[in-house]
Amino acid sequence: MYKLLLCWRYLRTRYIALLCIVSVTLGVATMIVVNSVMAGFTHEMQGRLNGMLGDLIVRTRSLDGALDADAHMAKIRETVGDVVVGMSPTVHVPSLLYMTVGGESLPRQVTLIGIDEASYASVSQFGEFLQHPENRKQLSFNLRDEGYDVLDHQVPAEEAKPREVMRDAGWKYRSYKAMLAKQRAADEKRLRELREADAGSKADASATPATMDPFAAAAAASGEQEGRDFDPATEQHTGIVLGIGICGFRTPDGVDHYLGLPGDDVKVAFPLAVMPPEIVGQEYTVVDFYESKMSEYDANFAFVPLKALQKDRGMIDPKTGVGKFTTIQIKLKPGADADAIRDRLQEAFPQQLYQVSTWRDEQGALLAAVQMETAVLNVLLFMIIAVAGFGILAIFFMIVVEKTRDIGILKSLGASGWGILGIFLAYGLSLGIVGAGVGTIGGIIFVKNINEVADFLGWLTGQPVFDPSVYYFYKIPTIIEPVTVICIASGAMGIAILSSIIPAIRAASLHPVRALRFE
């Protein structure tokens, strides 16, 4: 009892000891903040990574793909059918995307992905990243009239910066652009006629040889109606869903700008699945944007219907009509051990032809980097707490010296060495509890208000601490994991106890008479 009472009294009267645990407090608070932010980033990233990719990916090593997705899916179902929730075949092909901006054609490198509208939703949350509410319900590669999101639906409405141009997107925009194009064409035609009339006597217009229009030929080849012009005001090419980063960019003030909108046409050039290699160009109409907030994906992926891409790349067996695929995305039941299933599948498919990987394998480097950062920061911060431990050690030695006579008194009253040891260990523990407790509470409060703090710091320094254009998040994501918090707090308490052991042993082994005579 005297241990608790004395420990409590020491705690209340020795402010210097409280001072030395400030570093424990700061260390604990910082560790909680770092871990929460890192966990938040990891979670957001994993969510987005996993959202775009299936849990498991069976990929053909050949870019030209393999025939018959249905047969492969049947085999997968046979091998690991019990944990498979959904599967969807896709075709991935590196390609060049030409966007017309202000009359200039801008080529961009993208990965063109052919997806099956019906089944792709069962393997990824791709649909949730789209900008049109109807597309989020069921993806369609047909251009919508209007109604694209002006406010980012993935962030709270009060925080999203409105994207006013998206209000115009859709058929209205397409018709308007077609009308402008038509007018311009008519103007140019008239101008040419005037010029020709000017120079009419010099050369005969009909003498110019009629060159073949390659796009007209392509249109004819793709089965567009013959005998009449493609009317961009009322018709569209095959739909394409572009990553928002491909045709948009964000300025540091958080406002988005667009090079094109749903309703615009783009041209995509990709290799045919034939030997010798051959590049073809194909026109698509942008029907929607997706925004996974992973800039790596948003600036790289463009989605088109699987059937159309198979046809355009010559991936359909002309005899049987069976298409080729390059990957099969698999969605697993929640909680399934992806690594074990990957290994089972890899055994079922020949390794030289197929590669099976989990989405974690796909993004291993990125996730490992984040984990590495977290680990290094944790080690450094824990060292800070350990340094604080030495502070406690020093202060405790001082307190033991100061309390030498009291220790003698207690021993003369019959307190045992263990009892004295207990006082100082309990004192160390209570300092640890106070330090870690205040640190935990402080850290959690900081994490809860981290965005306000970042805003304030940004306002104070004039430089944004958290630049949304870099991270594609509007806010700093945080997750407080109770296990982590408990580990950090108990680690700090452990250090406080450890550093009080040596002074406590010294106190316990003091000779009562010498302690009593101590001046």
Binding site: M1, L5, L6, R9, T13, D406, S412, G417
Partner: protein
């Protein structure tokens, strides 16, 4: 230094010398140099045969042939050089001597705060100088009360808590909490008895020297000890306070038959005791 052989005495405590004959053969000051341990052993065996066995019941604390020296580098400074004495039940014994005569060291040995180099100490006929430290802690806690010259109250605790300290040490958390009410009642009674009931909630630094010593006496009495050690209890007090403390001790001895062993250098204070033993240079002086 080995302990004195005690085979002959362990069977019976008959070596304790009777009161009136005590000082003559055992504690005679020797001017012809320091006695060796062997000499002491031989002499005590001899005395064993000579001295009659005393009624054991009346002896509460006794020590025989206590040696103690402190080390300063390589030189051992002898402090006690063969002290033998006893305390009867209900006796008020004063140990007097100049400073440096070893009286405080003797008291520390008797109170088991320190251990002798040689010799033995018995309390209620049980040896207490060589028992394990846990048993000595228990003894100090339950059976001995101690009052010091510099009060030695714990500065972080109030007077009441200081008085309660032995009870807190004795019982552990649960044991204390179970009897908390009774303990507090007793502590209040003791504080009333020593006349500082109104200062129970004060910290030691808010008390005068006399009041602190009264609190120390109350603390010593907390667990109803059988023996009270007082080390210069008035040494730091003015005459009036010292006298009132002495009156209190005498009263305790008188009314409650509490055995008191007091160390002092003041002959007047020593005069309040039933009996006085004088220490000169680590030996008991005659007279």
């Amino acid at each position: 230094m080995s302990r004195q052989p005690l085979q002959s005495t362990s069977a019976s405590p008959g070596w304790i010398t009777p009161r009136r004959a005590a000082d003559a053969p055992l504690a005679s000051p020797r001017s012809n140099g320091v006695l060796t341990l062997a000499d002491h052993a031989a002499r005590s065996r001899q005395e064993l045969e000579l001295t009659p066995v005393l009624e054991e019941v009346s002896i509460q604390l006794a020590c025989r042939e206590l040696f103690k020296s402190y080390r300063k580098g390589n030189i051992g400074i002898p402090v006690l050089q063969g002290i033998s004495l006893f305390v009867e039940r209900g006796e008020f014994l004063a140990i007097v001597g100049q400073s440096g005569s070893g009286k405080s060291t003797l008291m520390h040995l008797l109170a088991t705060l320190d251990q002798p180099d040689a010799g033995e100490i018995r309390f209620d006929h049980h040896r207490i100088d060589n028992i394990p430290s846990a048993a000595r802690d228990m003894l100090r806690n339950r059976h001995f009360g101690m009052v010091f010259q510099f009060y030695h109250l714990l500065p972080e605790m109030t007077a009441l808590e200081n008085v309660l300290a032995p009870a807190m040490i004795a019982g552990g958390v649960l044991g204390y909490l179970r009897n908390r009410a009774a303990y507090r009642r007793r502590a209040y009674e003791l504080l009333e008895m020593v006349g500082i009931g109104h200062r129970a909630k004060h910290k030691p630094r808010e008390l005068s020297g006399g009041e602190m010593q009264r609190a120390a006496v109350a603390r010593a009495l907390m667990l109803k000890p059988k023996l009270l050690f007082a080390d210069e209890p008035t040494g730091n007090l003015d005459r009036a306070s010292g006298e009132s403390i002495m009156r209190m001790l005498a009263e305790l001895n008188d009314r409650e038959k509490l055995t008191i062993v007091m160390v002092t250098h003041d002959p007047w204070i020593a005069g309040q005791a039933d009996r006085t033993v004088k220490l000169v240079e680590g030996r008991i002086a005659q007279g």
